[in-house]
Symmetry: C2
């Protein structure tokens, strides 16, 4: 076996790199140019959202996007700073250091490093399934609430005032307290830019199509709206000297390659960032993989979740060593990359080259860029994530899912992002455990003239006074073992003529030791009542496990392959 | 409806009290006398185990046993201090106050009160199912580890030295550090008493039977061994003035009725006791209900778990108001009560009268009782709880259950009782979630010449290259939704001729919103690949829920009542 084919599963580049040709190159280059143009304002804006210097947004895109190209499995995913992860970064590190301080920057770098190591570890140990505990209702509730918090946090820049807070309540109070300080020129620039960007989202595409552009070109041009807004507002500030009238600008951004950094090794810092690193990793991974899978399916390509973890982990470790902050695969940029025709992860590498060019030569151009413009691009981006319809949808589908959405949303808005996610995960686990702790249990009887046995409450079936057949629609495990025990014993004491109890196990996929003990107890207690206990329709793997247990030795009744056989044998011939 | 019949479900006494007659009275009185004799040393010993004055053990038995007689549903359960709950009490309150101090006593009373309120609340809100999360492996591991810790903690009294600690490591270190201080007379009394009590357990019953006693009488007499040990060692100390040679004695115990106490209302105290109160309540409830159910089943009586919570809650609140500490239904005393012929909970009330007599008149008699004797009764009682066989049994049955037992046991022994239980509960929940997050998924095919569809790996079945049928043996919910999604998509990309994917849902008892979203995603992605997605054998309640969802509207394929119909329709006639 050759070295390359041994490494291939861990280095997807060895697979696609082999068939790389001039056609792919052209497509990837085109996509890279478009994504670069889109990424510049996004990167600056998300750095600002995270409370970091704008250039760190560019730095966080260069090496990460390249490393993902080597280790990731998606051919279209564009990795870099994204809104929700930037918000989580800010929430986490602002507990440790003051925004603007050097410690704050170190903390962001350490967070990217920890998150990268955690992602790689999850990938290597194949722990990607952990991400499953972020249920869809929790993600939906969290994303909507985070979108609102992000939008609210950006209002300060739009209005040119100071405001702080990590939840909607704090932000609203803080904005209200500073309402006298509004800089009206900033507010005008900010609100016009916001309105323009909303219009770009809804109105530009139809306009471009009417103007005769083809749909793919029009779609991509519509995404460059933020660049136009940046150019226009920067020029406006420069021409009218608005910075002297209190309009806050980005100012001097250092030119040059991302400076190499070494993540600080500090157990204290690391332990205070650990929970946040886990949350950021898991949330970032979930966001990234769903984008990657959506795009891959369209080309019948395959995403390997465990390899994706390694790809994203490498990207974050890369961010930590090049003055970046936590990154993940972003939705909008990946879609643009895909639409622009990116064929392989090489497009990402070319984007990195574009961003290097930007950080080397373009930063002086954004000196006069108003912060309000960046805030406007953030607000427009995140408000598209806000979706209250999920509440109604969840309510109609199931009250359990509604509870999970509503809890996550409410706690995120009122308490904060990290508490919100954790509460959501705990609530959904508790709801699941609660549901499976009281499984659906039906008393069944024979559908006349058939071999079918159905719920006595749903069907007109034949039952016998000396036989009770109970079907339980859940695997038997500790959370429902005693419930079943209580139910069976309660039913048995109610039926004085009872001689046989049959537990129909057609929907029982597992029996754990607590459930086995409960079945043993049921068997003994029924025996004390003079009633035999039988099982029917036990599945193969469950039967394998029961074989050789005391329960089976002590069972007063039999195990029947089918419910029909049980009834045939237990019904006396009359 | 009469008031009494309205109240009957909440006051079981109204049910059994109505048919109370002279026969029941005689039986109950006999049982009460025997249980009283047994309870006196037990109560003193468990108070000592909890680090409390011995008379509190008596107090904790009087009103609680009476209140349980009114509110509880078991006819044989004897409520009072028990070993494990006393150990938990000591572990909890010694964090707050120094043993021997007044605050320590107040904390014990507050703990009983909180635990009582919590139990009543669980009963009223029908939250008894919460106890299910203490799985059998966790309970087994915890009881064995606690038994060892209790036995180790009593070694100090047996040896007449000082030793402290809340886990086996601390206790062993402390005993070793004080090894020079052993009082050899105490050690002699202690070890002989222990040996005698072990012999009583194993050897006395056969001896009494050989001597011609009937089995019930012999059984009960064998339980009075501790009383004999107490009488003998007390007499010995008194006769030889051993207290002057360093043998620690119980000393002056106040005579009189249990003093009324008012649980201290202190939010600080309560909040620091809350977790412990919850743990004690749940563990006490689980211990109590399993005893109650075992005994009730023998007489085909019914135990109502929610009413039991109220009964135990009332008992604990009673303990709090009469200078007691947390109580629950004990195993050995309830078995004695049952064996002695108790017919109704009135036996408990008569036992209370016996204990009042004891605390009024008998306490001077135990002035010379050596503490080593009490320690010996505890050691012998708890070592019978220690059962390492559970490790092997769990290992053979399932590695998951073994992990839960071993974790609980190890953490309880090394860290402490509360951490041990909590770790055990968390580990068993995580294991359950992990298992259900990677459900058994089988590719199925048709068993030749039949309507049965089975696992291709277990049976020799017929499959078709353009149809893939997958059966998933688990309810679909957030923890396994993405796993199924990955599996289906991975399988679909492997089979180039594929046109149809059928998901066989015969073992799917529920589909939550995350799983629905995953199915929607699978449907869309398969559509992108040109493959239709079908479901078969969907259960009634699951189908009810799916009706009206977007998923069903967008489904590219059909929903088939049976797998056979699916295959008939999807197989082209050739």
């Amino acid at each position: 076996m050759k070295l390359t084919s041994m490494l291939a599963p861990y280095l997807p580049i060895l697979t696609w790199g082999r068939t790389y040709n001039r056609g792919s190159l052209t497509n990837d280059l085109t996509a890279a140019v478009i994504v670069t143009i889109m990424l510049i304002p996004q990167s600056l804006a998300y750095a600002m959202l995270a409370g970091l210097p704008p250039q760190m947004g560019l730095y966080a895109s260069i090496l990460p996007i390249t490393l993902y190209a080597i280790f990731g499995t998606s051919r279209s995913l564009a990795v870099g700073p994204v809104a929700v992860v930037s918000l989580l970064t800010a929430a986490s590190i602002s507990r440790i250091a003051a925004p603007g301080s050097e410690d704050y920057i170190f903390a962001a770098i350490a967070l990217a490093f920890l998150s990268g190591v955690f992602l790689v570890a999850m990938g290597v140990f194949r722990l990607g399934f952990m991400a499953n505990f972020l249920s869809h209702p929790v993600i939906a509730g969290f994303i909507t609430a985070s979108g609102l918090i992000i939008a609210a946090s950006q209002l300060k820049a739009i209005l040119g005032i100071q405001a702080e807070g990590h939840n909607l309540v704090q932000l609203a109070e803080s904005l209200w307290a500073h309402r006298q300080d509004i800089n009206w020129i900033t507010a005008l620039i900010g609100s016009l830019t916001t309105a323009f960007l909303f219009w770009v989202r809804k109105g530009l595409l139809p306009l471009l199509l009417t103007l005769g552009l083809t749909e793919p070109v029009a779609k991509i041009m519509a995404k460059t709206g933020p660049v136009a807004a940046i150019v226009a507002t920067t020029a406006l500030v420069w021409l009218l000297d608005l910075q002297n009238l209190g309009v806050k600008i980005v100012g001097a951004v250092p030119q040059g390659l991302p400076p190499l950094t070494m993540p600080k090794f500090s157990l204290d810092l690391w332990s205070s960032l650990l929970t946040s690193a886990v949350l950021i990793s898991v949330i970032g991974f979930v966001e990234s993989i769903s984008v990657a899978q959506t795009l891959a399916a369209k080309k019948r390509q395959r995403i390997d979740p465990d390899q994706e973890l390694i790809g994203l982990g490498a990207a974050n470790i890369g961010a930590a060593f090049t003055s970046g902050f936590p990154v993940t695969g972003g939705f909008s940029r990946s879609v643009v990359n895909y639409d622009a025709g990116a064929e392989t992860p090489a497009a990402g590498a070319y984007t990195a080259v574009g961003l290097i060019f930007a950080s080397l030569f373009l930063t002086p151009l954004i000196f006069f860029l108003p912060k309000a413009t960046l805030a406007a691009t953030i607000i427009v981006a995140v408000l598209s994530l806000v979706d209250f319809k999920i509440l109604g949808k969840a309510w109609r589908y199931s009250k359990a899912d509604f509870t999970a959405v509503a809890t996550t949303m409410a706690i995120t808005l009122v308490v904060g992002v990290e508490t919100g996610v954790i509460a959501g995960v705990l609530v959904s686990i508790l709801i699941h455990l609660y549901k499976s702790s009281r499984p659906h249990i039906a008393t069944v009887g024979q559908v006349p003239n058939s071999e079918h046995y159905r719920n006595v409450l749903r069907y007109d079936v034949i039952t016998q006074p000396h036989i009770l057949t109970i079907r339980v629609d859940e695997s038997l495990y500790f959370a429902n073992a005693r419930f079943l025990e209580d139910h069976l014993l309660a039913r048995a004491t109610q039926q004085p003529q009872l001689r046989h109890v049959v537990l129909m196990c057609s929907a029982v996929n597992d029996i754990d030791m607590s459930a086995l003990d409960s079945l043993e107890a049921v068997n003994k207690r029924l025996e004390d009542m003079g009633v035999s206990f039988h099982l029917s329709e036990v599945k193969g793997p469950v039967m394998d496990r029961l074989t050789g247990t005391e329960f089976l030795e002590q069972l007063t009744g039999d195990i029947f392959l089918s419910q029909k056989r049980a009834m045939d044998q237990l019904t006396p011939l009359t």
